[in-house]
Symmetry: C2
Subunit: 257 residues, 2 copies
DNA sequence: CCCCTTGACAGGTATAGACCACTCCGCTTG
DNA sequence: CAAGCGGAGTGGTCTATACCTGTCAAGGGG
């Protein structure tokens, strides 16, 4: 969870730097405060409630803004979480396999209960880019399904899916937005999945996204763009999944060529 | 590059929210300032130099700290970059394929010139965890190779590799730290690669890492952990790669089961 | 007994001011 | 002309203060 859980991150205290890059040495005060906070988190243990910002600032003898800078980094790393008006020590990250298996499967494998909250299901006309990706004509009707992803009831991500109405005409009537879309497409519609192209990057949540997922604004998120095809290589859906960067990691297995 | 390049991120201005999550409406001032800054960036174009923070704060009639909060988000997103003592409009992200091909290959495919700077090459004893992963005995000698990754001379990442000395005894003498390790292992040592397990997550750079890569501290990074095996499924190396989150995205292709 | 009001208090945002380390340019010096 | 020195100005950090919005628990009213 921490960015340096591994000893391999450092060459050791006295390790020689053989490049022209200077070794700075100087440590900002907020970083020292962060270290003190981390020690405190270990004492408190998972789920423990932190004292208020003002009290911590007084205890460490720094300004509240300085303490907040340290706290902000711990928040981004997922070491602490906001819960109501208090701050608590967080649990470990979830590992999600990068595979065709749905979000449901990945979360279940971690021993957690998956869930979804419907934000919106609407029918609209495809813009040229989307039409090209789904291999339909621009303006053709597409479903736009937007859901918040849950793990043990906790909001952890936001998923936005586009698929052609022509391919799944009965979606609005037949599909339960709280269940797995992949299961529906596979079992009810009879689509067999083929390859998918994915792109992963880190982005910042917009205020709207942060609000929907329930994170502080500007938390780094993992953005997954996926274009799924069926076994005949026809496009099925375009998905944009946004996961809390402090709560998720993705794993994959690469095979030799 | 922006976190909402796609219209699919939004349901539209008047889109109904069908869940119990409230629509907030309020926009912090720094977020409005960020929007004004983005408009300015478009005017300036890639490579354009921004006015100073103090001047921008005066122009938008906000405190410098407020302006800095907006600028900090643009920095994290990779929309702007620090260059010396000035701030410039940044170019697009690099896409790196998630495959066994080396860093070298990925960067070349983007039409850029890859490079590396040696930070350190040392020989040390394996700790129990590393020994288990490399299937050697604890205390057995391992190489630790740490290099800064370059694209067109720009520092974009930090790579830390561990591999058993017994497997590659001549590394220190034969290997040119500025070249591709994969090419050396494949061509000179005669290792044929098999599958690899990878994990991707976002972390914050430590001050040391930020210094080596030349980023502002606490920039979100993409952390790639990889355990590479040969075609006989024996472990070859453990790699910890840290890439600038504002400069990289990773792509992969998932095949059906 | 439950619901709702209400206010204390938490974190979020915004401001002004100060100092520091580093970069970079121009100038001096060899 | 090249190298090196120095100062101006930049972003980085830190402080102190103020006000706002949302949370939550206590207490009053139904």
């Amino acid at each position: 969870m921490d960015q340096t859980p591994d000893a391999d991150a450092r060459s050791g205290p006295g390790a020689p730097i053989r490049s022209g890059i200077p070794e700075h040495g100087r440590v900002p005060k907020y970083y020292a405060v962060k270290g003190q906070l981390e020690a405190l988190l270990d004492e408190l243990g998972e789920g423990g409630v932190l004292p208020t910002e003002r009290e911590l600032a007084a205890r460490f003898e720094v300004a509240r803004e300085t303490l907040r800078q340290a706290l902000r980094e711990l928040l981004i790393q997922g070491r602490v979480r906001r819960r109501g008006r208090s701050t608590v020590v967080a649990g470990p990250k979830l590992e999600q396999p990068l595979s065709l298996a749905s979000y449901t499967e990945g979360v279940r494998r971690q021993g957690r209960v998956p869930g979804r909250t419907l934000i919106g299901l609407e029918r609209l006309g495809a813009d040229p880019q989307l039409a090209g990706q789904l291999r339909i004509d621009a303006g053709d009707p597409v479903w736009h399904l937007e859901r918040v992803l849950l793990a043990d009831g906790e909001r952890v991500g936001l998923e936005s899916t586009y698929l052609a109405v022509g391919r799944v005409p009965g979606l609005e009537d037949e599909f339960d937005p709280g269940s797995s879309l992949y299961a529906y497409l596979g079992e009810k519609v009879g689509i067999s999945f083929g390859a998918a192209d994915e792109r992963i990057e880190t982005v910042l949540a917009t205020p709207r996204e942060a609000l929907l997922i329930g994170t502080p604004p500007a938390l780094p998120m993992l953005l997954l763009h996926r274009l799924t095809r069926d076994s005949a290589d026809r496009p099925v859906e375009r998905v944009r999944s946004l996961y809390r960067g402090d709560r998720f990691s993705f794993t994959t297995r690469l095979e030799a060529d």
